[in-house]
């Protein structure tokens, strides 16, 4: 706080009306104090987010040994690889299916909890959040065991119900299904919580007047609840798109991208190339492919939030 006290000492002529003068000095010193207090944050963002981002672009333009500049060769190389296109396909499939299901299930759960008497809501809301609070890498380990084909629970239940057992993580189709299911398990509570907060902010009078008009539950949902939640639904969808596309833990723990690279996402594929195989420039190029999607989502989120404030 030294710039502040220095400014107060320098303002000795203003002793005539000390309180008002001090207020003025404070107003003037505000900017300086503000900059000093924000400095750690700015250094953090510049040094550990902005600089690494620019550095990632630079790295992606180098050869594997990082000794020569190769232009866009890494990107061109990736675009000719079948594996890379498989990663693109999986990422889109994973993100779209997981986000849509999380949004639907989250809405159903929020509506159901909202219907209950207030005292019961707290318990169910709390229990529902457990998947989202457990460290994802560790709950994925639990799912890994659930999917184990011979000794574990899932196939046992399937056989009990008369279905054939599946080799969950070894079959390409079921491996994709499995990683998406874990993401839905993990992310649905987040949707539920934001929707529930949104539901609580809808004025009760709207429902009361619609009840007088004789609207049924489906009509109330369509004409009051959903329009009132529109903005929250949009922001949550976009936010979840970013987080889901960037998923790493689930795939790394369950399949490591297999079988035959069928479950790799941008993050896990970048890790495989950049860290595990030591081709840092190629790995950097893979993760940069995520950026356009993140940037577009971020733009719309920001617009959505600005709209709901104004």
């Amino acid at each position: 706080m030294s710039p502040d006290t220095a400014a107060v000492h320098a303002a000795s002529p203003a002793r005539v009306a000390p309180a008002r003068a001090r207020l003025l000095v404070h107003l003037r010193s505000r900017s300086a104090v503000g900059v000093v207090m924000t400095l750690p944050l700015i250094l953090l963002i510049v040094g550990l987010v902005a600089y690494p981002f620019v550095y990632a672009i630079y790295l992606s333009l180098l050869n594997k040994r990082e000794t020569a500049f190769v232009g866009l060769d890494n990107f061109r190389f990736l675009l000719t690889r079948d594996t890379f296109w498989l990663v693109v396909q999986t990422s889109f499939l994973f993100t779209s299916l997981a986000v849509v299901w999380k949004a639907i299930l989250g809405l159903v759960l929020a509506l159901v909890i909202h219907t209950l008497p207030p005292r019961g809501q707290r318990v169910w809301r709390g229990l529902s959040l457990i998947p989202w609070v457990m460290p994802l890498a560790l709950s994925s380990l639990g799912w890994w065991w659930i999917y184990e084909p011979t000794h574990s629970a899932l196939n046992w239940v399937l056989v009990l119900l008369g279905f054939s057992p599946k080799s969950w993580l070894a079959d390409p189709f079921w491996a994709r299904f499995s990683v998406i299911l874990v993401n839905i398990w993990y992310g649905t509570p987040f949707f539920m919580i934001t929707y529930l907060a949104g539901l609580k902010s809808i004025p009760q009078e709207l429902y009361e007047s619609s009840a007088i008009d004789g609207a049924n539950a489906a009509q109330r949902l369509r004409h009051i609840t959903l329009p009132m939640l529109k903005n929250i639904i949009a922001i949550t969808l976009l936010f979840s798109t970013i987080v889901t596309l960037a998923t790493f833990d689930i795939v790394r723990v369950l399949t490591r991208g297999g079988p035959r690279q069928w479950t790799h996402l941008f993050g896990t594929y970048a890790f495989e190339l950049g860290i595990a195989s030591g081709d840092v420039p190629l790995g950097a190029a893979v993760s940069l492919f995520m950026f356009p999607i993140l940037a577009v989502s971020a733009f719309f989120i920001l617009r959505g939030i600005r709209r709901s404030t104004s």
């Binding site: 963002i45 690494p52 159903v108 460290p135 639990g142 000794h151 649905t188 723990v253 993760s287």
Partner: protein, 284 residues
């Protein structure tokens, strides 16, 4: 009386509880299955007879005892604590100062920084871990747990700042002016007026910081290779899996114990946590 409002209400509640029941099975089966497995004997886990969903041949704490006596679990636990405490402290100090400045000391560019903070919050760890791997290498921190102290605040501070700006903004401006006229400086104002009022926000931000630091997996996996430096998440996943035969009991015991601190923290402070979580999407 079928069709009366009360009967319809009762039927609707019944449907609601049915749906909630289905969700609870889906949400809580994995932790339940982990707990059951961690308490079974190895013979029972490997047996193909009986009902696997319950413990039939007697519960045992052997997997938990082994975890502490035969594995590096305690080392990981110590490292996780050593990383998480300073990460939370540093992140909170940076966030509180920045949030105060950005919400009250309207200086040139404050609005722009506010927007920037929000955008940085949206940057996921899987976008920048490769250049950060090089940055950490440049700092000489590869294969050290302290590397996490450098990278975790970038994931924590933007959200916490954003959250606290919301709380600080709700404090009436008349309070500041009164304090300034009384001769308080900005530091005194922050400590005596803002922090006490923003306690719910501070708690929510602290829980968030703790959870991010405790649950982080990609950074320790990428930056740390020795068991002696590893933290709980990456340590449990990478080194408790040994050989071709997975000892599921020990693995589940480790995963469950390591998951406990964030779950307990949130169980006691759930309401703060939720108000903090939803602040961004509804208040903002």
């Amino acid at each position: 009386m079928i069709g009366s409002p009360r009967a319809r209400r009762a039927a609707a509640l019944l449907v609601c509880y049915g749906i909630i029941g289905a969700f609870m099975v889906f949400f809580l089966f994995p932790p339940y299955w982990m707990a059951v497995t961690s308490l079974k004997t190895n013979q029972e886990i490997e047996s193909l007879e009986g009902i696997p969903l319950i413990i039939q041949k007697g519960a045992t704490l052997k997997h938990y005892v082994d975890l502490f006596t035969k594995t590096d679990f305690l080392v990981y636990l110590k490292n996780s604590v050593l990383v998480t405490i300073p990460t939370v402290l540093i992140s909170m100090v940076i966030s509180v100062m920045a949030a105060y400045a950005l919400s009250r000391l309207g200086f040139v560019g404050a609005g722009l920084i506010g927007t920037g903070v929000f955008l940085v919050y949206l940057v996921p760890d899987s976008l920048l871990f490769i250049p950060l791997f090089k940055v950490i290498g440049g700092l000489g921190l590869l294969n050290s747990k302290w590397s996490l102290l450098v990278v975790y605040p970038t994931a924590i501070v933007p959200f916490c700042t954003w959250l606290l700006i919301g709380y600080f903004a709700s404090i009436p401006r008349e309070l500041d002016e009164a304090a300034l006229v009384d001769g308080a400086n900005h530091f005194q104002m922050l400590v005596r007026i803002f922090l006490p009022v923003a306690v719910p926000g501070l708690i929510a931000a602290t829980i968030f910081a703790f959870t991010v630091s405790w649950s982080g997996f990609l950074y320790p996996l990428a930056f740390i290779f020795s068991s002696s430096e590893q933290v709980l998440t990456a340590g449990t996943v990478t080194s408790l899996i040994k050989g071709d035969v997975y000892h599921w009991g020990g693995l589940m015991a480790g995963a469950l114990l390591a998951s406990l601190p964030p779950v307990l923290l949130y169980a006691f402070l759930m309401d703060y946590y939720i108000s903090g979580l939803t602040a961004g999407s509804t208040k903002a």
